[in-house]
């Protein structure tokens, strides 16, 4: 029991690791603050392009969404970080992570928003257009607000996934929370920094997990 506490809950080591882990947490927050809006906006764009009249564009969006959903995010990240340099494209770890996350998450957001748009009856389109709104105006002022509200639980749940995916950045040596924790672990030969990282993720994400649960129930009621 003592060995277990010493290996996973060593407070002295946690305190020692705290400064670099807080710096790591800062980078995790920066990454989230950029990656979530980027991938959400890209997803909305993909979903909207999926509704256009010109069929090849629609097919292209389906191919994008299904292809990117079938490649594990870590594989995408390794492709961007390790394969692109062979084409002469060298991205910083931050840019590589941002690109990989956006490619992955935009496909999921796109699929969710598309379902949202499809949940809006064509009557809404006809009504909006007949009042003289243009296609774009109908979309922005009539369709999307209702569509996004209908899929709010799925959007929140995917956002949680995007935030959790930022931990993959540690694999390509981007110094976010998990990378910092793993550095501290390898220096101290003790897993308490990883436990601390888990606790920090929990503090930030538990409220989101609860919120998603409530959203899902709210929609059903």
């Amino acid at each position: 029991m003592h060995a277990l506490v010493d290996q996973f809950f060593n407070v002295a080591i946690m305190a020692q690791a705290m400064p670099i882990m807080l710096r790591g947490l800062g980078w995790t927050l920066v990454l989230c603050a950029v990656a979530v809006p980027c991938s959400f906006l890209a997803g909305v764009l993909i979903a909207v392009l999926g509704t256009v009249r010109f069929a090849p564009v629609r097919w292209l969006m389906v191919i994008y969404v299904d292809l990117l959903r079938s490649i594990p995010p870590l594989v995408l990240l390794i492709l961007v970080a390790a394969a692109l340099p062979f084409a002469g494209i060298r991205l910083s770890p931050f840019a590589a992570v941002l690109l990989a996350l956006t490619l992955n998450a935009s496909s999921f957001y796109g699929e969710i928003v598309r379902a949202g748009i499809e949940s809006i009856g064509t009557g809404q389109w006809h009504a909006a257009r007949s009042t003289g709104l243009s296609y774009a105006q109908s979309l922005v002022h009539v369709i999307l607000p209702q569509a996004l509200r209908n899929v709010l639980p799925d959007l929140a749940s995917n956002t949680l996934e995007v935030i959790k995916l930022t931990a993959l950045a540690s694999v390509v040596s981007f110094q976010e929370l998990l990378y910092s924790a793993d550095m501290a672990r390898s220096v101290t030969y003790n897993s308490s920094p990883i436990t601390l990282a888990a606790l920090i993720y929990l503090i930030f994400l538990w409220p989101l997990v609860r919120l998603i649960g409530r959203l899902e129930h709210g929609v059903k009621a």
């Binding site: 995010p73 594989v75 390790a82 209908n150 897993s191 997990v209």
Partner: protein, 227 residues
């Protein structure tokens, strides 16, 4: 060498494709093996936890809720590193395969428990009352009346979640499970060429694209039509 030939040479070099095909194929085998054990364990454990929760025993419920919330809130890679590097220091040594199986099965179980539980609670209370009033006991009511309705409702989210967790088998490459990504990245460092990585990516697409398309079909097939 023109641009096209240079591209082929860096990303799709025929000699390297032939050289590393056996490794990638063996990686595919590992990925399928570990993914199927995770799906099996995660689904069985998750449904079991949801059933235990339906008994509404206070202590069990609290423990299940904490389990499900923690495993859903923390990135799986954190648990993989925690278990893989931490346990040997307290005298428990698990193989990388076992660690990946354990962590991802528990994560899947957490999501499955929540989805099935949401399904159970969404079945109207009148169904319980009606079933019990015809003389069915608790277990029979749950099995023959509630679960068939609850599971039908749960199938789309269960499918998409199972697919997502299955793709996380790529995390095994971080601790050296010889699955597709691991085989591909070590081949890249041996050959100094991106070809094995492209082969790995294509292997994932071949493996998961049908699953993703199946998931899309399931979602439309079992969609609960909202007016």
């Amino acid at each position: 060498m023109d641009g096209g030939a240079a591209f082929v040479d860096a990303f799709f070099k025929p000699a390297l494709i032939a050289r590393y095909a056996p490794e990638i194929v063996s990686g595919v085998g590992q990925t399928i093996l570990i993914a199927s054990t995770i799906v099996l364990t995660g689904l069985v454990l998750g449904v079991t936890l949801a059933l235990i929760r339906s008994l509404r025993l206070p202590i069990a419920t609290v423990m299940i809720v904490i389990f499900a919330d923690v495993l859903r809130a923390v990135p799986p890679l954190v648990f993989v590193l925690l278990v893989y590097f931490g346990l040997p220091n307290v005298g428990v040594t698990l193989s990388a395969f076992a660690v990946l199986w354990l962590v991802l099965s528990l994560v899947l179980a957490a999501f499955v428990e929540e989805i099935v539980w949401a399904g159970i609670t969404s079945v109207a209370k009148g169904q319980w009352d009606a079933a019990r009033s015809t003389g069915l006991n608790f277990a029979t009511t749950l099995r023959d009346v509630i679960l068939p309705q609850a599971l039908r409702l749960s199938i789309p989210p269960l499918t998409s979640r199972t697919i997502a967790i299955t793709k996380n088998t790529a995390l095994g490459s971080v601790i050296g499970v010889p699955e597709i990504l691991n085989q591909a990245t070590s081949a890249v460092s041996f050959s100094g060429n991106a070809t094995p990585l492209m082969m790995g990516a294509i292997a994932y697409v071949v493996l998961f694209l049908p699953v993703v398309i199946f998931g899309r079909w399931v979602e439309t097939r079992f969609a609960w039509r909202r007016a």
